[in-house]
Symmetry: C2
Subunit: 278 residues, 2 copies
């Protein structure tokens, strides 16, 4: 039996449970379904070059399989949330809250045998600031990052927080390659350690858990930047762990629930890391 939280009336406590627990359970159930769907196809996407489009976008078959599994769970629950996703744009079920979903963030990693790709689930209204529940799960390892607004952030059930920036052990996670801006490559040369891991949702969670100092997505403006589905969940997880997100001008980052928008971002643990660029 769980004891009521001290100083909180039982009625209020159980009311909170009634609101918070079902949403947490729903997100974990969705993540389980996506993970099971991807696992059932294990290996089928690796080393497969067919379906790699001329623009370098890998086949979306693995994304489709994960997304179908997610929609199946939602359907079975009577679609309690509107859904924003790449495949379906905005699915309006007339609900107050929207699930912003990226079924696989890091598809190319999944196809390359790199165990760093995730499902990203955020629930809220309008924009990143309106997100109240967030879950990111590494589908290769099962590591799960979760946050509820005002309640902290967790990895596999244990509280996480960002780390203090120290120049001598700096680690940056930087989006690179021929679509990255020139200053992204400059940033990659600065710290003691640079990683480029290929999943913005998970990389932002690594910063949240104190495993790195920042994650940067700085793409050429002609090409774009990240989409709200890539960052909606991880942004809440990072903020609940004590971090913050900034745009290229150093302003606090926000982004509407709009699949057409593309933005560059710096996801930061300790803001002192930003001094290193001045």
């Amino acid at each position: 039996m769980v004891a009521p939280v001290e100083g909180v009336h039982s009625a209020t406590y159980f009311n909170l449970q009634a609101v918070v627990r079902p949403m947490r359970s729903l997100l974990f159930e969705i993540a389980d379904a996506a993970q099971e769907a991807v696992r059932s196809t294990e290996g089928a996407f690796e080393n497969v070059e067919v379906g790699m489009g001329a623009d370098g976008t890998p086949t979306s078959r693995i994304d489709k399989i994960a997304e179908d599994a997610i929609f199946k769970v939602l359907d079975a629950k009577g679609n309690p949330l509107n859904v924003l996703s790449e495949e379906h744009a905005f699915k309006d079920f007339g609900k107050p809250d929207t699930l912003v979903v990226d079924p696989i963030d890091g598809t190319a990693n999944a196809m390359s045998g790199i165990p760093f790709y995730s499902v990203s689930l955020a629930v809220g209204q309008r924009d990143l600031d309106g997100v109240r529940y967030a879950l990111v799960r590494n589908l290769a390892t099962g590591d799960t990052y979760y946050a509820a607004k005002g309640k902290g952030a967790f990895r596999n059930g244990e509280a996480i927080k960002v780390r203090r920036f120290r120049l001598e052990s700096a680690q940056f996670l930087v989006y690179l390659g021929n679509r990255a801006a020139r200053h992204a490559h400059g940033m990659a040369a600065m710290p003691r350690r640079t990683r480029s891991l290929g999943s913005t949702a998970l990389e932002t969670c690594i910063v949240a858990a104190g495993g790195a100092d920042l994650h940067a997505v700085l793409m050429n403006h002609a090409i774009g930047g990240l989409r709200v589905m890539d960052i909606a969940a991880a942004a809440l997880i990072l903020r609940e762990a004590g971090g913050e997100l900034y745009d290229e001008r150093g302003q606090r980052f926000n982004m509407a629930f709009d699949i057409k928008e593309r933005r560059n971002v710096l996801a930061v643990g300790d803001p002192r890391v930003l001094e290193a660029f001045k």
Copy 2:
């Protein structure tokens, strides 16, 4: 009962078994012991800043635990191999073959919550060309790469091979950060996708399995390059999968069993990727 291979006398066949099977079994047993030792300390190394030296080298406690587990297995077998390792340099038991071991390649990843760190085990004589058995295991996921000279390379028991280079879907795995050479950062800007994953042994295995086109370790010469322990196992795995390793002048790469040597290397799947740099 296993049927003798056609065209091979039973005596010869069983003689091969007697030589090959025990070495394969020994390497898997050692990998199991290292993995079990690291798992038993799960989480204890993450977010721990103490022990990060002034040079940015993380505490070697996790390495030590894995290495101790490895030596325990070898001791129990009567030390059938000499051992070359960071901790002990060369341990000479008067045997013809030497085990070149890196207990944890990617210690910083293990401490950062990035599921990409490995144990690397190579058995042979003198130098990389003398390696006859090789095993690399991702200790976070259990994915295991194995090769025996002339017998092919395998991931989790399935044969692997390098992929054909195609510019539009190029993926390079490049060592980066403030110890990397300037041209490493230039290389990171070239392909459609760049990753920097922090474990040379595993990154070379990803190339072997057709998940990327090359892995580059190009460090400033004042600082060094990789050590033979980092590459001894993965080099055989890559070659058995159809790839090759080159030094900075484009010569076929070899390296003595000498812990003091540090070298830069390009581990390549399809050699046509090298044309892209000309």
